[in-house]
């Protein structure tokens, strides 16, 4: 609050401060105070002189009047007397008073506003605190709610299970009730039956007691019937009873023995099966070491060793009788062991396989599945490509063959192709001519040889005829033997000549076959040179005809040679070719050979 003990100087300071700070907030009250107090120590005159000096009093007065007018106060300040440095005191004082009033009022307002502000801040703080408190409460309550939800859910679950239990219990109760009901009905039924029977008994008893006419039980038979097995009945003796017992036990024992036998057989079979299984399992497990890789090799090695040990041990045991319990136990134990090993092994293999699939291939032996598949895919693609290529080629070829170019190019093209063919054909013709020439040469040789042979044969025939004549004249019983010996010689020679035939036949089969064909069928041969062969054959054929007049089977020879197969024909021909003519002339002996 303003200090009313303000001097004029401080009021002036206030004016100055008003000039310098046009809009001042009430909160600057202290500043005002400081603004008041500060320059009071200083010489006020220098400050006042900034606004109003002795010179500009009327301007100041007019200015202040303006200001007062703008504030709504009466602007009556005037200099008194006018033009001098003194003021009319009353209006100035009034103005001052009014200004002070205004100031006071504004200060009051400020104070009130400040009070209100304080109040508002305090209420705001209060609200904020209460807000935060409420927020905390809200969170807490939300958490509580969720917790309660959770418990509710669990309780619901429990309720459901309990309900289902209840249902099952109810069902069971119902079932039991139905059972009880049925049992009860059964009991009552039985009880009623028994009661009826008892009633009947009582009735009967009473009837009998009353009746007293006991009808005796009796049997009347015309005559006794013999026993079904025809024998007489036996007395009942202790021996008989004992024998009955014995019989009973015998039948029981026989039945037990039969079942035991069956069980033994079954047991033996099952043991065999188990043994086999064991052997197979061992077999499967033992060749493992070379296949395994890495660390498992040692293990499987161990397995293999243990297996071998076991095998050796057990083969000795197997010789024992398997029916003894010890052996049986051992067998089952060993089977179990083997099975465990096998199972472990299979598991290991599975693991390995999965590992290998996951890891990149570290071993060249084992190719992981993906690369294998890649390779396969690649190869398939290649195959496909090749096929397409081939197909394209074929198409192109077809195109080329079928295409309708203009005649020139077509002719040119055709000409190109035919040229190639012509060249090829020329080559082939050349070869063919060469071969033909070779054949001609050979044939010439053959014919020469044949002619020579013919001449020799003729000579031989003459010799033979002479010799025979001589023989005939000196007729001896040894003639037959001579013949047979010569026939043996002939067969031996024919055997010898076989390889000759084969070699000769391999040399010029087409010629001979063509000769044969001409012989058997009247077809014409391929080349013009053949007729000369025919001539040769004819000469050959005719030679034996001419040489021996004793031929009774000439015809037969011709026919047989017509029908004979190639080999025998060749045989005969080579016989002609061969230098030994002793075979040929003996036709009677030769014919069995054909």
């Amino acid at each position: 609050m303003g200090d009313w003990g303000l001097t004029e100087t401080s009021m002036d300071n206030y004016e100055i401060s008003i000039l310098s700070h046009v809009a001042m907030s009430p909160s600057r009250h202290n500043n005002l105070m400081s603004a008041y107090s500060l320059p009071s120590s200083k010489s006020s005159y220098s400050v006042i002189s900034a606004f109003c000096t002795e010179d500009n009093i009327p301007q100041c007065i007019s200015y202040i009047n303006q200001e007062l007018g703008s504030l709504g106060l009466a602007a009556h300040i005037q200099a008194d007397p006018p033009g001098r440095a003194s003021l009319n005191a009353a209006p100035a004082l009034n103005a001052m008073y009014e200004l002070l009033q205004i100031h006071r009022r504004s200060m009051n307002n400020v104070e009130e506003l400040e009070k209100e502000q304080l109040k508002k801040t305090s209420t705001l703080e209060h609200m904020q605190t209460s807000n935060s408190r409420l927020k905390d409460q809200l969170e807490l309550s939300i958490r509580e709610k969720s917790g309660l939800h959770e418990t509710e859910r669990q309780l619901q679950l429990k309720l459901k299970t309990l309900q289902s239990c209840l249902k099952t219990e109810k069902d069971e109760v119902q079932k039991l009730q139905s059972i009880i009901a049925s049992r009860a009905s059964q009991y009552s039924h039985d009880a009623k039956r028994k009661e009826r029977e008892a009633a009947k008994l009582k009735e009967r008893l009473s009837q009998l007691l009353v009746d007293r006419k006991d009808k005796k039980l009796a049997i009347e038979m015309l005559n006794s019937v013999g026993r079904s097995d025809g024998k007489r009945s036996h007395w009942k003796t202790a021996k008989a009873t004992a024998s009955r017992e014995a019989e009973m036990y015998k039948s029981l024992l026989s039945d037990y023995e039969a079942s035991q036998r069956a069980l033994m057989l079954e047991n033996a079979e099952l043991q065999k099966v188990l043994q086999q299984m064991k052997k197979e399992m061992m077999h499967i497990l033992s060749p493992c070491p070379p296949l395994n890789r890495g660390g498992s090799a040692e293990e499987s090695q161990e397995l293999g060793d243990s297996d071998r040990e076991e095998r050796s041990a057990e083969t000795s045991r197997e010789t024992l009788d398997q029916s003894c319990e010890h052996a049986r136990e051992q067998l089952t134990n060993s089977i179990r062991q083997q099975w465990r090993k096998l199972r472990n092994h299979v598991q290991k293999l599975d693991n390995q396989a999965s590992l290998v699939q996951n890891q990149p291939p570290s071993n060249a032996e084992v190719i992981p599945l993906e690369t294998h598949e890649h390779e396969v895919e690649r190869m398939r693609l290649e195959v496909q490509q090749c096929k397409e290529f081939i197909h394209a080629q074929q198409q192109l070829l077809q195109q080329q063959l079928n295409t309708s170019f203009d005649d020139e190019t077509a002719a040119l093209l055709n000409g190109c192709y035919t040229l190639e063919e012509k060249e090829r054909l020329k080559e082939e013709w050349r070869l063919f001519d060469e071969q033909k020439r070779n054949f001609e040469k050979e044939r010439k040789n053959f014919t020469e040889a044949a002619i020579r042979l013919g001449r020799e044969k003729r000579a031989f025939e003459e010799d033979r005829a002479a010799w025979l004549k001589h023989q005939f004249l000196s007729m001896t019983p040894f003639a037959d033997r001579m013949r047979s010996s010569s026939s043996d010689g002939q067969s031996a020679l024919s055997v010898k000549s076989e390889p000759e035939i084969r070699t000769s036949s391999s040399k010029a089969p087409p010629v001979k076959s063509s000769a044969y064909t001409t012989f058997s069928t009247p077809k014409s041969s391929k080349s013009a040179a053949v007729p000369s062969t025919i001539d040769v054959c004819r000469t050959l054929r005719l030679i034996p005809d001419y040489s021996s007049s004793r031929h009774s089977n000439q015809r037969r020879w011709q026919e047989s040679s017509a029908t004979e197969d190639e080999e025998s024909w060749l045989k005969s021909k080579s016989k002609v070719c061969s230098s030994d003519l002793s075979i040929f002339s003996l036709d009677e002996d030769k014919n069995p050979l054909t």
């Binding site: 009991y187 009967r204 009808k215 039980l217 038979m221 079904s228 008989a240 009955r244």
Partner: protein, 384 residues
């Protein structure tokens, strides 16, 4: 197929002799013996009263006719028609009568099961067996006819007596572990006796010939138990049909269950299902003359045939009244084929009275109330 003329009979007493040569029928109080091939009447016997039960002896020489009302049994001979035999039980009454396996003794069960009287036709001698038990199947002969097992009840305890059929002397007498024995049956090889409880408890006990308990088997508790029992012909298996509609098979070595067959209401897992389809001619109810009625009830009016039903087949289930005793649920009939390969079972309330296999094991005869059906099996077919 040809049919002969229809012969009269009463009480469903019509049996072929064990040797297959003769056919015996009862008409009221007359016994008619016919030749099986020619159906000519060979003999005619007259009994003193209406015949209640008729049975051939095992050697086909004698026939017994029992008249329960008059407690009389008359025995007739085929070889000597003049021969006669009459057994009078007197005032003690007669409830059942049967031959012994040798065909020379008759076992009569008196009224109220007071005793069993054993009459010998060879010696006219009488023996008594006291306290026989009145149960479903209290007496059984072994297949070779050597032994007879009889269920007895004394002092509220069950016993089994084993008799030697030759001279009827008691071989063994032992107490069984049952509360209320309901039946017993010899195994075909005569070494094991199967003894089962009444349906209130599922308990099957197995005794050897000399009376030792071999094993007991109980499938479940509390519900109604065993309904029917059958041995396989090889004595290897024992089939037990129970009220829970299941058949359980025990093996003879361990007497433990080796197989279990169910009869579900929806059949889905068998090969073929044959369903009988009946076609009844529609009879209008207005014109119900006598003629019509007789026609409607004659044998040939309802034609039934068997169709192969496509799987799954729903079997009509009739829920039995739980308040009545001996409900019509459960496996009531079992029959093994002769080679022990197949078993035929009847479950529920179907109108099948008996199942019997042919001795060759490839056909089955189902006898119902009015009809019978022969089922032939192909190599790979199964009938249900």
């Amino acid at each position: 197929m040809n049919f002969s003329e229809v012969f009269k009979q009463s009480n469903q007493l019509c049996k072929v002799s064990p040797d297959g040569k003769y056919l015996a029928t009862c008409v009221q109080y007359r016994l008619v013996i016919r030749d099986v091939n020619t159906l000519q009447i060979l003999n005619l016997y007259t009994c003193l009263d209406q015949i209640s039960h008729m049975e051939w002896s095992s050697d086909s020489l004698f026939i017994l006719c029992a008249m329960y009302k008059r407690a009389l049994v008359q025995v007739w001979s085929l070889e000597q028609p003049d021969w006669h035999c009459k057994i009078d039980e007197g005032s003690i009454g007669l409830v059942s009568s049967r031959w012994s396996p040798d065909g020379r003794h008759i076992l009569n069960t008196t009224e109220f099961h007071l005793r069993i009287t054993v009459w010998s036709l060879c010696t006219k001698a009488v023996s008594y067996i006291k306290y026989p038990k009145a149960c479903q199947k209290g007496l059984d002969f072994s297949r070779d006819g050597c032994y007879m097992a009889l269920a007895e009840r004394r002092d509220c305890k069950d016993y089994v007596s084993i008799f030697v059929c030759d001279d009827w002397h008691l071989l063994r007498h032992f107490e069984t572990e049952t509360q209320d024995l309901s039946g017993l049956e010899w195994s075909p090889n005569g070494c094991v006796l199967a003894v089962w409880e009444s349906c209130l408890e599922y308990k099957m006990s197995l005794y050897s010939l000399d009376g030792r308990l071999l094993s007991t088997y109980s499938a479940y508790e509390w519900s109604l138990g065993i309904k029917s029992v059958s041995w396989s012909p090889s004595s290897q298996f024992l089939a037990i049909g129970s009220f829970d509609e299941k058949v359980r098979i025990l093996n003879h070595i361990t007497w433990k269950k080796i197989a279990q067959f169910e009869h579900p209401a929806i059949i889905d897992n068998t090969k073929t299902v044959y369903k009988e389809i009946e076609k009844r001619p529609a009879v209008s109810s207005d014109e119900m003359s006598l003629h019509d009625i007789t026609v409607a009830s004659s044998l040939f009016s309802t034609q039934s045939k068997y169709d192969i039903s496509p799987l799954p087949v729903q079997i009509p289930v009739v829920k039995p009244d739980p308040d009545r005793a001996n409900p019509k649920i459960g496996v009531s009939a079992l029959a093994f084929s002769s080679d022990s390969r197949y078993i035929a079972t009847k479950n529920g309330g179907f109108q099948v009275h008996s199942l019997n296999w042919h001795c060759s094991g490839d056909s089955l005869i189902l006898i119902g109330k009015d009809q019978l059906c022969l089922c032939y099996m192909d190599a790979d077919q199964n009938n249900e």
